[in-house]
């Protein structure tokens, strides 16, 4: 009897092993969710904006943070549209008991800045990606993904323009928006230089070098805040394209694209 029981046990164990090896189908725990979809009318706040998030699938719970930390299932759970009245960065992530959680997606809100009177272009945008015309980058509207959105302006060489204000204005900082979408051959700039009041003095120049990407990245809308702290009539902005696409990329050696979003003068 004992022998028979042992035999039965061995058979059952063998069968059960065989069964699990035979399961050829993909398992839910191996596949992650897509990051949540954020819908907002604008990310430049005049008074407030309403933010909606979509998960796209039943059973998904979305959590978010507004302090820069990664969202976890501890807090805060997204249950209804958010009303945003203060600038800052919000991060969202999808969770599901059976699927791998999504990557984090984030969105940054800006306070409306000073409105320049005019912009004078010294460089030419690419005809195919000229956005809403010459004022696109100072029209108080942020772009959205994808790059074909009409608030983006695409350049295949440098960006060089001067903005003018009605009267002497104290500018604390400038926010420069750009796109990082390496799958579409769109790279962050190599450097940004800002020259106040048409000055030719070297010490007035404000220059920022950006570190070059070393591998593929998820598409992201980026922003760089550059401190000015000066009273000005005008600002010249020179933004350098990385030039040719780096070696790790499929398009290595070809011309890289530079896509600019709103310039905000705080």
């Amino acid at each position: 009897m004992k022998k028979n029981c042992m035999l039965l046990l061995v058979i059952l164990i063998c069968l059960s092993c065989k069964k699990s090896n035979q399961n050829m189908f993909l398992q839910q725990e191996d596949i992650s969710l897509v990051q949540p979809r954020i819908e907002v009318p604008n990310t430049i706040i005049d008074s407030f904006v309403s933010l909606h998030v979509k998960s796209g699938m039943e059973g998904i719970e979305i959590y978010f943070t507004s302090d820069g930390s990664e969202p976890t299932t501890t807090f805060f759970k997204y249950e209804k549209p958010l009303t945003i009245s203060e600038p800052g960065t919000y991060k969202f992530k999808s969770f599901h008991p059976e699927w791998k959680s999504s990557e984090t997606t984030s969105i940054t809100f800006f306070k409306k800045g000073h409105q320049p009177k005019n912009i004078l272009w010294n460089s030419k945008q690419n005809e195919k990606y000229s956005g809403q015309g010459p004022l696109t980058l100072i029209n108080q509207k942020k772009a959205a993904l994808p790059y074909s959105n009409l608030e983006w302006v695409g350049f295949d060489s440098i960006v060089n323009a001067e903005v003018f204000f009605n009267e002497k204005t104290f500018i604390k900082s400038v926010d420069i928006g750009f796109l990082s979408d390496v799958q579409s051959w769109i790279f962050p700039p190599a450097s940004i230089t800002i020259i106040p009041n048409g000055s030719s003095k070297l010490e007035d120049k404000i220059s920022v070098q950006l570190t070059e990407l070393e591998g593929p990245r998820l598409t992201e809308m980026k922003n760089l805040n550059i401190i000015i702290n000066k009273e000005i009539n005008s600002l010249r902005l020179e933004i350098a394209n990385i030039g040719s696409i780096p070696d790790w990329h499929d398009g290595a050696g070809s011309k890289a694209w530079l896509f600019m979003d709103e310039w905000i003068f705080n």
């Binding site: 189908f25 969710l33 699938m57 992201e220």
Partner: protein, 347 residues
């Protein structure tokens, strides 16, 4: 009884035995959660191992298209010139390979003449359509339609797809070129040209796929995808525009008719942050979207389809589908890291 029905019933029977208390603990079904994609009537489990081969011996680059031949074999077209055609059986076992000079191999269509199988391959790098036997012997090569006056040179002609009528006439979609649809007789003589680049009803942005739709025997028509526009357009066989079916958010590659449904690989979701945001889309006999494996459940609001988008990171850039007699779907992918096709098993 169909094979699918039989499997369903027999698996229920097996399940009945296995859930009997004495056996249930030995088979821990609970710990396994098979991925099930799709909606309503069209749901699938996913077999990622199907058709995987040794990439040193039988490599793939982009897996562009996939069809089933009269013997039930699965025929894959890749732009890898070591073996442009890879033929599998339905279990995913390699049967044979051929083809070394189709660098822009993109479109693959099966046609039958007097009981014999032939293939139409479009090659956008050679700017040609090539008719071959099922084992790779070239019957004819067709160059760009220079007489039409719509093309200045062969470089403007980058054909992506073909479709064949019962009488042997065939149509070519120039999805990467000047966006014209050309109509030929079975010998390859030009009969008609229509379409072209533009946003008018009868024009296309990215006329990527074309399919002969004879589901309604009295009113056969052509289904042509305007992939960039997320629209499926219907045309009469003489090239007159009939109607548009909008699929917001879905970059549909080519229509494939199986039974009374239309299946599409969707290259990507229009507004997703990741480019590899593809999924599949299935329409019923009334051309309504009923299932989107890997994406949001289709829903209509006042007859308008809501925007579709990928929900799970399963498919990379699906480029074509092939459906076998058991309703299983084989998915060929573009720019997916040289992966072999995926098999979806209908549940």
């Amino acid at each position: 009884m169909s094979r699918r029905k039989f499997l369903k019933q027999s698996s229920c029977l097996t399940f009945g035995i296995l859930t009997y208390p004495a056996f249930s603990s030995a088979f821990s079904f609970d710990s396994m959660k098979d991925v099930v994609v799709g909606h309503k009537s069209h749901k699938y489990k996913v077999n990622m191992d199907w058709g995987n081969l040794n990439p040193l011996k039988t490599p793939v680059k982009d897996c562009h298209e996939i069809v089933q031949d009269s013997k039930g074999r699965i025929v894959l077209l890749t732009n890898h010139t070591k073996n442009n055609i890879i033929i599998y059986d339905k279990s995913g076992k390699l049967l044979e390979t051929w083809g070394t000079n189709y660098p822009g191999a993109h479109g693959l269509t099966l046609l039958k003449e007097n009981g014999e199988d032939f293939l139409l391959i479009t090659d956008y790098e050679r700017h040609q359509i090539i008719k071959t036997t099922i084992d790779g012997k070239v019957i004819f090569e067709l160059n760009y339609p220079s007489d039409t006056g719509k093309y200045n040179n062969k470089e403007e002609f980058k054909p992506t797809e073909t479709t064949v009528l019962e009488n042997g006439d065939f149509y070519v979609a120039d999805g990467y070129g000047n966006q014209y649809i050309t109509h030929y007789n079975h010998k390859g003589e030009l009969l008609n040209i229509f379409g072209g680049r533009g946003t008018e009803n009868g024009q296309f942005l990215n006329a990527h796929g074309i399919c002969y739709d004879n589901r309604d025997k009295n009113n056969p028509c052509l289904l042509i995808t305007a992939r960039e526009m997320n629209i499926l357009k219907r045309f009469s066989l003489d090239g007159t525009y009939l109607s548009s079916i909008k699929v917001p958010g879905a970059l549909i590659c080519r229509p494939v008719i199986h039974n009374n449904d239309i299946y599409f690989a969707v290259l990507k979701s229009k507004n997703s942050p990741n480019s590899d945001s593809g999924f599949l889309l299935i329409m019923n006999k009334n051309n309504e979207v009923v299932s989107c494996p890997g994406a949001t459940a289709p829903s209509y609001n006042n007859d308008q389809l809501e925007e579709l988008y990928q929900t799970i990171r399963l498919f990379k850039h699906p480029h074509d589908v092939c459906i076998d007699e058991d309703d299983n779907v084989y998915v060929a992918q573009w720019n997916s890291g040289q992966t072999y096709p995926i098999k979806l098993v209908r549940v």
